[in-house]
């Protein structure tokens, strides 16, 4: 029977913790408000507040053991927040790359740019579709582009062995009008018709030799780096050159083909007519998406994997932290067994004692959570990393983003650990017969 009660308690606790972790902040705020009202308005709540105040006032005297909980939970939260910040940064970088008012057209059923091929005729038809914005000369802002994978030596690695994959994008003049956020910050733009490249700032950080006026070998050809650009999105991880030069170099049999056509629309509302026109055109067999949708989908798989790894690693560490908290709180409760028994003897009830011990543990957990979040923010926020982007061929540079939502998740984890770590010692303290507890120590 005791086993069944224990099992039922465990299941209820786990379900409760899961609900707590997935609850939005208004739900948790309401919960805190209800607890606050209970503690200030009801007799039992006031008892709980009194016992909590007594326990909290002794924390300074139990600094060492309290620090075990705080530091343990801070470690869990720091790791979890760092992992989530990585996923968040990756997702944000790709999301920033797209917009509601730009569209990407790929060959039908292509998962990404590199697996798509569009012929020259198709690109011309696409550029004439309705809804595309026009430049000052009345030309449609549509950019047929060719994306290929190239290998370059990694920075700091052995130049003969350590190569990484970089995405080389062949573009036309319209690409600059389409991506107004891309700015040359060093050197100049490439000259059409020449083997010149501009490198994104992120690519420059990752690969060797991407300096203005340096020459690099790509596709058995020598290319000159003439400029560095920044765009604050995934494009920064790429090299850009003239599509009419990149095409013949990498696709000698299909020099005029492209992998995608990007188009700036007159507004987000122009997307549906634009898409409808292309999808219904019998000359084309294409998929049309807004760039925000396209890049979000591209990031989905990888960010899910990073998030899952973060949660798994965090969960493993959390289990360790729960045992740390359990150990500390069992010790604290054992040390204070007679105090707790005395309080119960003079009339304090079990529920306030349980609530008080749990609040005390959760307070320590909160401190640990804030500390862990702060450490993660200080160390990882803005930290630059790179990875192979899912669905693309190049190495994507992105920055860890310790957003408030990530910190909030870390805090919820901390509180959940504190909840579990405090519950069982609290139940023990409340269930132990007063007469037995009075004899302890």
């Amino acid at each position: 029977m005791k086993f069944l009660i224990g099992l039922a308690t465990f299941i209820v606790v786990i379900v409760g913790v899961v609900v707590f972790l997935v609850s939005p902040w208004p739900g948790l705020l309401l919960l805190a408000l209800v607890l606050g009202l209970w503690m200030s308005l009801t007799r039992r709540g006031q008892q709980a507040a009194s016992v909590t105040a007594i326990g909290v006032s002794t924390l300074r005297e139990r600094l060492g053991s309290s620090a075990v909980i705080v530091v343990g939970i801070a470690g869990v939260v720091a790791v979890l927040v760092a992992m989530l910040a990585m996923a968040n940064g990756y997702r944000e970088t790709l999301r920033r790359t797209g917009g509601e008012d730009t569209a990407i057209v790929l060959r039908g059923a292509s998962a990404s740019e590199v697996s798509s091929v569009l012929g020259h005729d198709a690109a011309v038809v696409i550029a004439q579709a309705p809804g595309i914005a026009r430049d000052e000369q009345g030309r449609p802002i549509a950019s047929p582009e060719l994306v290929v994978a190239a290998n370059l030596p990694m920075k700091g690695g052995n130049p003969e062995e350590d190569f990484g994959s970089v995405q080389l994008r062949g573009i036309g003049e319209m690409a600059w009008k389409l991506r107004t956020n891309a700015k040359i910050v060093e050197g100049r733009r490439f000259t059409p018709g020449l083997r010149e490249l501009v490198a994104g700032r992120g690519a420059q950080r990752q690969f060797d030799g991407l300096e203005v006026d340096h020459e690099i070998k790509l596709g058995n050809q020598t290319w000159k780096i003439v400029g560095i650009f920044e765009s604050n999105d995934a494009m920064e991880s790429e090299l850009w050159g003239d599509a009419d030069v990149v095409g013949p170099t990498y696709r000698p049999n299909g020099a005029n083909s492209s992998t995608s056509v990007f188009a700036r629309l007159t507004g987000p509302e122009a997307f549906e007519p634009f898409k409808a026109a292309l999808v219904s055109d019998p000359r084309l067999q294409v998929d049309v998406e807004t760039t925000v949708d396209y890049f979000s989908k591209q990031s989905e798989g990888t960010s899910k994997v990073i998030t899952a790894i973060g949660i798994v690693v965090g969960a493993i560490m959390a289990i360790g932290a729960v045992f740390g908290a359990l150990n500390t709180m069992f010790a604290a409760v054992a040390t204070r067994a007679r105090e707790i028994a005395t309080l119960r003897a003079i009339g304090f009830r079990g529920v306030p004692v349980v609530i008080a011990i749990m609040l005390e543990t959760m307070l320590l957990a909160l401190v640990g959570g804030v500390l862990g979040g702060l450490v993660a923010w200080l160390v990882f926020n803005g930290y630059t990393a790179s990875t192979l982007a899912a669905g693309t061929t190049g190495q994507l540079t992105f920055q860890f983003n310790v957003a408030p939502s990530v910190l909030w998740t870390g805090l919820k984890w901390a509180l959940a650990i504190g909840f579990i770590g405090g519950l069982y010692p609290a139940l023990r303290a409340a269930r132990l017969p007063v007469t037995t507890a009075l004899r302890e120590l």
């Binding site: 005395t342 003079i346 009830r349």
Partner: protein
């Protein structure tokens, strides 16, 4: 005088693994209101168990216990806690003060269970400390007080909510002779001048002399009484 405590056919059995140990055996006892009763007996005779039953800290296996006309053996855990807070003051051998709280705050503890305002709680606690002669040590923590002073703070805590009954488990067991006499004198004053009913467990015959009656327990049975009805 009317009885404050009426114990009828009370037995208490503890289970230790598969073994059952009968600690109290068919106790019959009446304690008059305003009495000062000493419970004596060898270790393991059941005197602390009997005290705990009367104080509502434990429940009998069989029999009934009425205190002030209320059948406390029928009360659930929550109701029993409430009853204790209103009717019983506890004095323990090792004082059981909360070490991080001042004497004043320790005495205020039982009043946290009442609806009194903070100011009223402070006032009542000050009065109780004054009564035990420790008004000037109100701000001191237990570690800054002698054993005798700590026990007097514990007595102030026991009486601050003005209970009918004080239960004392070896209240002088950890004190030197002089401090013990001070504490026993204080208990006697509370009994004689303030009408508190006191039940005290003690090993010390000299301490028992301060009581108006002494009962002896042996192997869970009342074996002797002076002026009280006791069968068992």
């Amino acid at each position: 005088m009317a009885n404050l405590v009426e114990i009828r056919n009370v037995s208490k059995v503890y289970e230790r693994g598969k073994q059952k140990v009968e600690v109290l055996h068919h106790i019959e006892l009446d304690i008059a209101k305003g009495d000062f009763l000493a419970l004596m007996g060898p270790s393991g005779s059941g005197k602390t168990t009997l005290l705990n039953l009367i104080g509502g800290l434990d429940s009998p296996t069989d029999g009934s216990i009425s205190v002030g006309g209320e059948r406390i053996d029928r009360l659930g855990e929550g109701a029993l806690a409430k009853w204790r807070s209103e009717h019983v003051g506890f004095i323990f051998q090792f004082y059981n003060l909360l070490p991080m709280l001042s004497a004043q705050k320790n005495v205020e503890l039982p009043l946290l269970l009442t609806n009194l305002s903070a100011a009223q709680r402070r006032k009542n606690a000050s009065i109780a400390l004054q009564l035990v002669g420790l008004a000037e040590r109100a701000a001191h923590k237990p570690t800054e007080l002698s054993g005798g002073q700590q026990q007097r703070v514990a007595i102030a805590r026991a009486i601050v909510s003005d209970p009918d009954l004080l239960v004392c488990d070896e209240p002088t067991g950890d004190l030197d002779r002089q401090s013990a006499e001070d504490v026993l004198g204080l208990l006697q004053t509370l009994n004689r001048e303030h009408g508190k009913t006191i039940i005290m467990v003690t090993h010390d015959p000299k301490a028992a002399e301060y009581a108006s009656h002494t009962l002896h327990l042996d192997k869970g049975t009342l074996v002797e009484q002076q002026g009280l009805r006791a069968e068992g």
